[in-house]
Symmetry: C2
DNA sequence: TTTCAATCGGACAATAAGAGTCTTATAATC
DNA sequence: GATTATAAGACTCTTATTGTCCGATTGAAA
């Protein structure tokens, strides 16, 4: 019942990207520092985000990752689900094939409510707005600060 | 980001027990049928519940498991946490050692809100009340119904 | 056109967790 | 003491998590 590191890193990265001027490209190295995570692992995360269309990747000398303007208003839910797939608090909440107890099981409805509550919060968290909050609060980073390769 | 089977089974079992007359003992076999799960695995789950005090276990010829009256009003949160430990949607929500980004990270507050929302729902789900709902809705089980050893 | 600096993508690996089984105690009743 | 319960621990099998490493591609600039 816990978010994966990959999804956590994805959220961090996306907020960082949303805080940059539009159409800025950020290198993987920069993003790894911003997200405080291993760069190689972030590679995988960024590839997932790119496949989901949440991020544009550019190769080559001036390459890097870019947040399309449309997705500045993506939500934390979008990001998490791009990495982990649809959020399901319990296996019985699988939309595809229903649980055999669903009809009468009183717990089922509770799981639905709990999941909906959590999802609603994540759906309300919009990247650009989060980036603004971060900008307002974030201390100036120290030179020679810790660094993840 | 998903409940374990163990916790799901635990909730099923606890609701079943809450639906029995006070001080009734139910055998592991009966509970396995009620929870639709393998009996041996349920053994482990019941041991955890017993260690947490949510259930009383009795050995011997007339043994079985019993829900103490006090815990008829336990919540689904209590049950889940007895099996899985404290609920944490993200690793950064660990109360013990704080996240280094907590001060400024706008995602942190969102995780807190999402987790609180889910926890509140589970905290509101009281076993005895759930058992009543189940009794009102549950169809009469067929003889020769599927059966888990 | 060569070089350089990026990302991509696949293979690999170490560890942990999840889900369950099996066997041997241990306890309580008859 | 025989029978019928649960307790507890060892064991297994599979999958997910969290990475790492490296060669292949790509694109721009010298």
């Amino acid at each position: 019942m816990q978010l994966t590191r990959a999804a956590d890193y994805a959220v961090r990265v996306m907020i960082h990207l949303a805080g940059l001027p539009p159409e800025t490209r950020a290198s993987r190295a920069e993003l790894a520092i911003a997200a405080e995570c291993p760069e190689q692992f972030l590679s995988k995360v960024l590839q997932s985000l790119a496949r989901a269309g949440l991020v544009l990747s550019h190769r080559g000398n001036t390459g890097g990752f870019e947040l399309p303007n449309i997705h500045r208003r993506a939500t934390m839910l979008d990001v998490v689900e791009a990495i982990e797939g649809p959020m399901r608090l319990n296996i019985c909440l699988n939309a595809d094939r229903a649980c055999s107890r669903e009809e009468w099981c009183p717990a089922h409805q509770v799981w639905v409510k709990a999941q909906t509550a959590a999802v609603q919060v994540l759906r309300g968290a919009i990247l650009s707005e989060l980036a603004e909050k971060a900008a307002a609060r974030k201390p100036i980073p120290l030179a020679g600060a810790p660094h993840w390769n």
